[in-house]
Symmetry: C2
Subunit: 224 residues, 2 copies
């Protein structure tokens, strides 16, 4: 099984937690994408009905609409479930997210959900957060260089670029990828969020209740 098959297996398995009539948070990225496709397939097959999706990105919203999922915006009502990927999964299901630059909407949607289910392939499992990746930090565009200077107190920040231009999020902000080495991600997450110019961080701590992690032989369910 290739990595793509593993992502598909994890994404599809999460849809077993979706029931007709649910309001579901729809994640962003290569694994969450398969969950959206599977919800669409089950709606088309008559296995699910009256599903409302709340999308975490413009990209996921487009895909969901193509799949025939009714889309609403995030309002004050809770969601029944949110399904999303992760870039790193540490013990107790602490996560780093944001490789797709959608971390702010992903966090707001996950917080609104009664249950947050993570989908991933096994390569995302780490012993501690930051082991393989930098943590993405969404920062305000105005004065971003002064904010990067403040972030340098916590690690090595790098403005994310694509085709030589800074990446702009769906919310009009920028992304700084911060390499860090602390063993206390909760402390770091708080310090970063308190920093002027920071909108949100890619640390998702104590939020996921369940992770469906695809290994070559099976999809394993991890609980917090």
């Amino acid at each position: 099984m290739g990595l793509e098959d593993l992502k598909e297996a994890a994404g599809r398995r999460a849809v077993d937690f979706v029931r007709s009539g649910m309001r579901v948070g729809l994640g962003t990225g290569s694994t969450a994408r398969y969950a959206i496709l599977e919800i669409g397939r089950r709606i088309a097959a008559g296995e699910l009905a009256n599903i409302v999706g709340v999308a975490t990105s413009v990209e996921s919203e487009s895909l969901a609409r193509e799949c025939g999922i009714a889309i609403e915006t995030l309002d004050a009502r809770p969601l029944d479930l949110a399904i999303d990927g992760a870039d790193e999964i540490a013990p107790h299901l602490d996560l780093v997210k944001g490789a797709g630059a959608a971390l702010l909407r992903e966090k707001l949607v996950a917080l609104a959900a009664r249950e947050f289910v993570v989908v991933a392939d096994h390569t995302k499992l780490v012993g501690r957060l930051g082991e393989k990746r930098a943590v993405p930090v969404e920062i305000v565009r105005f004065g971003f260089e002064s904010t990067l200077r403040r972030l340098a107190a916590f690690g090595a920040p790098e403005l994310r670029r694509q085709n030589d231009a800074p990446v702009v999020t769906d919310n009009g902000n920028l992304i700084a990828d911060l390499r860090f080495s602390t063993g206390d991600p909760a402390g770091l997450a708080g310090e970063l969020k308190l920093t002027a110019g920071v909108v949100e961080t890619g640390f998702f701590l104590g939020m996921a209740a369940r992770a469906l992690v695809a290994f070559p032989a099976e999809v394993r369910e991890l609980r917090r």
Copy 2:
């Protein structure tokens, strides 16, 4: 002297701290406006030269350009001085700002300045923050109703509207005005900033070094 005269007296007095060659943060609002006009007047009169302004709003940038002040964006370099108004001034020069919806850029500019000078008329002095006004909180547009729910844990938030539409900041965000009653604004400021969906608060604590406060008979200089 009417209130407008007091604002003018305070705004103009602050320009005594501006020296030729300085990079100066330019505030937003009815009192800071007079400082910008006075800088322009002194440049035109040959009393100041080589001033670079960094504006805290689109509005102040336009005014400064009309006044012949060269404008640059906020980058990694520090500013020599920032001049801005305040909505409430408590003992030790702790402030509430944001009535003009420019609090985020105002804070980023004030933080970048070696000295932050506040200009105000005496009606802005209070015994404790929150005495007369709500604290403005800049929040992300996406899912703003879920963020308002979280803010309700700290007081009574109200989405700021103008002509029946939500006020949108220069950064594309919304403003929630939060009535609160705590005697610990530092604690509240931290809790608010840590809240998902919150970008920045209107609490400016321990930031101002000096305030020029206009009374009918004189402009008094207060120091932290």
